[in-house]
């Protein structure tokens, strides 16, 4: 990033905590970690507007792990909830009923079920209206809170409770993961970024950069989900890092529609290294290896990086297609 940043190394991660220790999320939850890091950049004056999902349980009456405001809305309309808060703050300040010191950053926090599916329309509306807000989607690639059913974010080849591998369809989910980054970019969101908790400095810089932009600031955080994906919670960060290193989760940003990859792997690790570490992909390897499905995944990753590299002028060594 060309602009000045206060985040150069992980040592620059602010020590301020707005999320108290101990909350009701699962061990190793990538979502709550994203909230914690995000908040560190935003500072104390925040209203979180939540849609139904895993994070909803984090604020269970009478407790809240947050030092900031929280509004749970509904599954489909958290961005509209952010609209109401933002507009109310603006109109009350304009009328002199509220001092400027009460101004806040308004942040939507939802899972991928809300962001990609049921709340898609509400986000599109907020982008269209150029609402000045942040949207943090913790993307664990399925309906995690209800026990891991397929969403539009579920990747090709993943098992889920509603796309179980069967004799007729041994590969599980046959849809490709929807490209929400590109959809939001096409809707003219001034800032869209992907995040991974494993790449803290990149994460911090992007939230910081969002703060310099007026309008919708859209973030998709790759949120490892030990219970849904089937891995040891201690490996969350390792798995997110592998997703970046295999090229499965590209770290990038779009400023006024211009895309730039912020972390470019020199040579991609084979996707197998990522897939074999999760139970949701186990059926691609046992009892028989689904070579074609694995090849499809690898080819799609290789092709993604070839196209991105050609556009932006970098070269990424593709992983071997077996």
């Amino acid at each position: 990033m060309a602009t000045a940043t206060r985040f150069r190394t992980l040592k620059d991660m602010p020590s301020d905590e707005y999320l108290t220790p101990g909350n009701t999320m699962c061990a190793g939850c990538g979502g709550i970690l994203a909230v914690r890091i995000f908040h560190k950049v935003l500072g104390p004056n925040v209203t979180w507007v939540n849609a139904a999902g895993c994070m909803t349980i984090a604020v269970s009456y009478p407790l809240s792990p947050l030092k900031s405001n929280w509004i749970y809305t509904a599954f489909a309309s958290a961005p509209a909830g952010a609209q109401g808060v933002r507009d109310a703050l603006d109109v009350l300040m304009a009328k002199g009923k509220l001092p400027a010191s009460e101004d806040m950053k308004v942040v939507v926090v939802t899972g991928d079920g809300a962001a990609y599916d049921i709340g898609f329309q509400s986000a599109a509306g907020a982008i269209d209206r150029r609402l000045d807000f942040y949207y943090l989607c913790y993307d664990n690639e399925a309906y995690g809170n209800t026990g891991f059913q397929m969403s539009s974010s579920t990747p090709f080849g993943s098992a889920s409770k509603t796309t179980p591998p069967t004799a007729a369809n041994p590969i599980g989910n046959t849809h490709r993961k929807m490209d929400l980054f590109e959809v939001w970019r096409a809707q003219n969101a001034p800032y869209v970024a992907t995040l991974s908790n494993s790449h803290g400095v990149d994460f911090l810089k992007k939230v910081e950069k969002g703060g310099t932009i007026r309008g919708p600031k859209m973030y998709i955080d790759f949120a490892a989900c030990p219970t849904g994906w089937g891995f040891d919670p201690k490996d969350s960060i390792e798995l997110e890092k592998l997703a970046v290193q295999t090229g499965i989760w590209p770290l990038k940003e779009s400023v006024d529609g211009v895309v730039r990859h912020t972390v470019v792997p020199r040579s991609l690790l084979p996707v197998k290294e990522y897939l074999t570490k999760q139970e949701r992909f186990a059926h691609l390897f046992e009892p028989t290896e689904r070579t074609e499905a694995i090849r499809t995944i690898q080819e799609s990753v290789n092709s993604y990086w070839a196209v991105a590299g050609a556009k932006e002028g970098f070269a990424v060594k593709a992983a071997e297609v077996t």
Partner: protein, 407 residues
């Protein structure tokens, strides 16, 4: 007579402006659209000091309305019919948040089949949502009830959202003489909203937290019920102030020629005017007829209703709505209000009519009284009436035949 000619929609918009609302999230739907267009114009030309924003659905509109109210703004919005149903999930959230915004519903029948004119299946679908509900008969009442609704909703004993209903077409697009109160008088009646626990940077709050235990949930739900019941007292006090300032008197129910009435028609909304005419016609025939109008539907004015119905020979409940498989929606509520009342009317007649705005002739309206009398005389069983004229039935059957391709 003072006043200006205003449609029901214009009366609703005017009252929102007089209430000095801060925020109007909106979404168009017939027959409500004129309300938000009017407000959009006023905000644009600077004659209304509010923020107006058009959302992408009624569901989002109600969400924004609720969270803005939680942030301390005075909020107004309006919808109709399918829009109210589309927003329904959020009605329950907004009341659960105890966000005292005011929603105007312009009644319109529900699809399918799609229709434009009114009945009350839309507004009564919101019956159990926790909104205070006030229903209007005239355009004057629309304006007055919107102002009263803010007082009741924002009353610390209540802190619930309120809904004011008016009938599409019959009120929404009909010009009637309306006396709008003076702004400075309204300011006396309705001071600025002072939210008890708003979303604030300096004092963080959590709204709509998950509740994992049934007993805590029950506690909050019972609380809402108690608050809704207190809305009756809050309404009476607000109505007293309103009468003193503006001279118009509103109770939760209103009687018409009830003094010596033996046969009473219970109804609500704009068709009440037709009910009044029917009462007059029956009186001309020497029948002691009367009418009881429900203005407040939530909280349900059981005691007021029972007090006015006891001692009558018969009552009929006119429902401009239909719960298929049960009948009119308000009938069982009226019946339940009378159950333990000594001297309750021996005959309680369920009547359904006016669905999708079906017009009612004065003969149809008087037939309700004739039916009550026939039942009282033992000539008929108290069976539900479904109003439709024979020529209407013939026309409907002709339309069906045409649709089926018969020559």
């Amino acid at each position: 007579m003072k006043g200006t000619l205003l449609t029901g929609n214009a009366a609703a918009a005017s009252a929102a402006r007089l209430a000095r609302v801060d925020y109007v999230p909106a979404y168009p739907i017939t027959p409500q659209t004129e309300i938000i267009e009017t407000i959009a114009d006023w905000v644009r030309e600077g004659t209304m000091d509010a923020k107006f924003v058009q959302l992408e659905s009624e569901h989002s509109m109600m969400t924004a309305a609720g969270t803005a109210s939680l942030t301390g703004a005075r909020v107004f919005t309006a919808t109709s019919s399918q829009g109210l149903l589309y927003a329904m999930e959020m009605l329950y959230n907004v009341s659960g948040w105890r966000a005292p915004m005011v929603l105007v519903n312009v009644s319109r029948g529900l699809a399918a089949p799609i229709v434009l004119e009114p009945d009350h299946n839309d507004v009564l679908a919101a019956r159990d949502s926790g909104f205070v509900q006030l229903h209007s008969e005239t355009c004057q009442e629309v304006a007055d009830l919107v102002l009263l609704a803010y007082r009741v909703a924002e009353d610390r004993r209540v802190m619930l959202p309120a809904l004011v209903n008016l009938d599409g077409f019959y009120l929404s697009f009909t010009r009637e003489r309306v006396v709008l109160p003076e702004q400075k008088e309204v300011d006396k009646f309705l001071p600025a909203y002072d939210p008890p626990h708003p979303v604030r940077a300096t004092k963080a709050v959590a709204k709509g937290s998950a509740v994992m235990e049934g007993f805590v949930y029950s506690y909050f739900r019972y609380n809402m019920h108690a608050a809704a019941l207190r809305a009756k007292k809050a309404f009476s006090e607000a109505a007293r102030d309103y009468r003193e300032l503006f001279g118009r008197d509103y109770g939760p129910v209103e009687g018409y020629r009830l003094d010596d009435a033996e046969y009473v028609l219970v109804m609500s909304n704009s068709f009440t005017t037709l009910g009044r005419q029917a009462v007059n016609r029956m009186r001309e025939r020497g029948v002691p007829a009367g009418l009881l109008k429900l203005r407040m539907v939530r909280p349900f004015p059981s005691e007021e209703l029972a007090a006015l119905l006891r001692g009558r020979k018969a009552a009929a409940v006119f429902d401009q709505n239909l719960s298929p498989g049960s009948g009119g929606i308000l009938f069982p509520e009226v019946a339940a209000s009378m159950y333990h009342v000594k001297g309750r009317p021996e005959t309680l007649l369920p009547v359904v009519g006016g669905l999708g705005g079906k017009q009612l002739t004065s003969d149809e309206m008087t037939s309700i009284f004739e039916e009550m009398i026939a039942v009282r005389r033992g000539e008929k069983a108290p069976e539900p009436m479904f109003l439709m004229r024979s020529e209407e039935l013939a026309k409907a059957k002709k339309a069906v035949a045409l649709a089926e391709g018969e020559p």
